[in-house]
């Protein structure tokens, strides 16, 4: 019965080798992957800071505020509009799903989530055909915002549903018993308590729409080139340029700052089960 012998030495557990070796290996593995995650960003950053002769310079960032300015502004504009519309749509919808008796709730929820599982290229091609021949709104801002909203409001919906389910009914009931109206209860009690969930929705929408280029490539006309689409267009046509790298670096820095701010204030609790972890 050799397999029944119990190893009680301090290094037991791992088949062979001392424990510190396995621990170092484990941590090294995770750090190696973190290096890989950051590698493309760091490479882009380095490339944007060097001239072809190898001189370090910030001069390529003048394009970000020069010829790329309009693209960046358009990106911020579309992202902001999408976030506002998403909020207006998702908060009532989440409220209805959690608090009201709705027939066929899970079916409705899967219908709403449908666009989340549609590959971006399929969404792009279906929308470009529908916009051109069915709705007659090809290459318009309305069409672009519509595509963004339908693609991201499920991501806004999920964290708010999670937050609303976690919210005990006690607060609501207390406010109502003390004579607050429905609207007062919502604005003064529930909305502040739902803050982290709503912020999670805003974060997800921001990160995705700000960096979205594929659906945009299909449906946006020449006048609606967002910054991410500009990066794609330049990468495809002009090759690998330091000015493009500067724009890509800026976009990633903005996105990462927003993520860091969110993690600092709210942690990752409300992002569970969504796109970001």
């Amino acid at each position: 019965m050799a397999s029944m012998t119990v190893d009680v030495s301090p290094h037991a557990g791992r088949g062979s080798g001392p424990r510190w070796f396995w621990n170092a290996l484990a941590h090294g593995y995770v750090w190696a992957w973190m290096a890989i995650f950051a590698l493309p960003f760091l490479a882009t950053l380095i490339y944007s800071l060097r001239t072809p002769d190898g001189v370090w310079t910030f001069s390529y960032y003048q394009y970000v505020f020069g010829s790329f300015r309009e693209n960046l502004l358009l990106s911020f504009e579309t992202t902001l509009i999408t976030i506002v519309i998403n909020l207006l749509i998702a908060i009532p919808a989440a409220y209805a799903i959690v608090r009201y008796p709705i027939p066929g709730k899970s079916f409705i929820l899967s219908t709403l989530n449908l666009s989340l599982y549609t590959p971006a290229a399929v969404m792009g091609v279906s929308l470009v055909i529908a916009y051109a021949f069915l709705f007659r709104i090809p290459q318009t801002m309305i069409g672009l915002i519509g595509a963004y909203v339908v693609g991201t409001f499920p991501l806004m919906l999920v964290p708010i549903i999670v937050a609303l389910r976690d919210l005990p009914m006690v607060f609501e009931e207390a406010a109502r018993t003390l004579g607050a109206t429905r609207m007062q209860t919502f604005w003064r009690v529930e909305l502040p308590l739902l803050g982290p969930g709503i912020s999670a929705g805003i974060l997800l929408t921001f990160v995705i729409i700000f960096n979205e280029f594929l659906v945009t490539l299909f449906i946006a006309g020449p006048g609606l080139t967002t910054a991410a689409l500009r990066v794609y267009n330049l990468a495809r046509t002009a090759g690998f340029q330091p000015s493009t790298a500067a724009l890509a670096t800026t976009m990633q820095l903005v996105s990462f700052t927003v993520v860091l701010l969110f993690f600092h204030f709210f942690g990752s609790r409300y992002l569970k089960g969504t796109y970001l972890i």
Partner: protein, 329 residues
């Protein structure tokens, strides 16, 4: 009177009703004495007159959901149905009087069969890479690491999109790139791998890695570490602990993670375009763009789109069944 009205209104909101009842019964009998009869009368009136129908909880709930449903129907469901209709029409005939034909699908399964195979192959291999490399990562993350939040933050980099990922990796694969010296030291000719299948697979695997880690990590977090301890004390070898304890208990997370990665990888677009050879560039998404927006053969592009959509939905459906609706009700 005002209070009574208010109470009646409150009692009509669906989900609240029974909870309010419970609340009231715990807080005092006085209100209960006259309220229920009134509620019953209100409900009868509500059900009889159509004008009052709008104030039932069900109708209010539907009203709150209406904008969301409207957006989903207008921008997701109608375009997808229209895509299916267009995929059945002969090239460009749908402008005038649509001729319906299955030609596009015959074309897709005939001439574009290699594109389908290439897409499934790339997505499959990248997802297997994710699984093999992601399982140890998830295990270490859940069991050994205290700076988990930091790792999670770093993992958001690939999620900003495959575009920056492919763009950055392009530079890494150049001999003049940031790791050029390291590759020379290792004796690897890195430029050989630019525009190759390896580069595409690597960038696809990195992009979907967080999804795999997320799913397996969620499954492993639910496995009690005491079970491993018990197995170890009873004399199990590490690989036995894996095959007999960890693997069966995290099976759901493995399948869900694999299918999620596979689903995302099926729609791969920019990695083959920036890092791949023409063979990798035959993936369905890129072909769709080429046929639809460059050659204006909408019927064929739509048929490719329907095929990709069906594959992605099937994968997602199975995946959600295994993850027990991480996203749903």
């Amino acid at each position: 009177m005002v209070n009574r009205l208010r109470f009646r209104r409150a009692s009509r909101r669906g989900g609240l009703t029974h909870r309010h009842g419970a609340l009231l019964s715990t807080y005092g009998e006085t209100q209960m004495t006259h309220a229920p009869a009134e509620i019953a009368i209100e409900y009868e009136i509500a059900e009889r007159s159509p004008r009052r129908w709008l104030s039932t909880p069900r109708a209010r709930g539907m009203l709150l959901l209406a904008p969301a449903i409207l957006v989903a129907v207008l921008f997701s469901i109608i375009p997808l149905i229209y895509l299916f209709q267009v995929s059945l029409t002969r090239e460009s005939s749908f402008f005038f009087n649509a001729e319906y034909t299955a030609d596009n699908y015959l074309n897709v399964f005939g001439r574009y069969r290699s594109a389908i195979i290439e897409t499934v192959y790339l997505a499959g291999v990248a997802s297997i890479l994710d699984l093999v490399l992601g399982y140890p990562f998830a295990y270490i993350l859940i069991r050994k690491i205290r700076y988990r939040e930091f790792v999670r933050t770093m993992m958001t980099f690939p999620l900003f999109g495959p575009l920056y990922l492919a763009f950055g990796l392009f530079y890494v694969f150049l001999p003049t790139g940031p790791l050029g010296g390291v590759f020379v030291l290792l004796g690897v000719d890195i430029a050989k791998y630019l525009f190759s299948q390896a580069a595409v697979l690597f960038s696809m695997a990195v992009f979907t890695f967080p999804f795999m880690v997320m799913n397996i990590g969620a499954a492993l977090a639910n496995v009690d570490p005491l079970l491993e301890e018990a197995a170890r004390t009873l004399g199990a070898k590490p690989w036995q602990i894996f095959t007999r304890v960890l693997f069966p208990l995290s099976w759901g997370g493995i399948v869900a993670g694999f299918l999620m990665c596979f689903g995302w990888n099926l729609g791969v677009f920019v990695q083959p375009q920036l890092l791949g050879s023409p063979k990798e560039q035959s993936v369905i998404s890129l072909q769709m763009f080429l046929k639809g927006l460059v050659q204006f053969n909408y019927g064929l592009a739509a048929a490719l789109g329907v095929l990709l959509m069906v594959m992605a939905f099937a994968v997602t459906w199975v995946s959600l069944r295994f993850s027990r609706g991480a996203l749903g009700a």
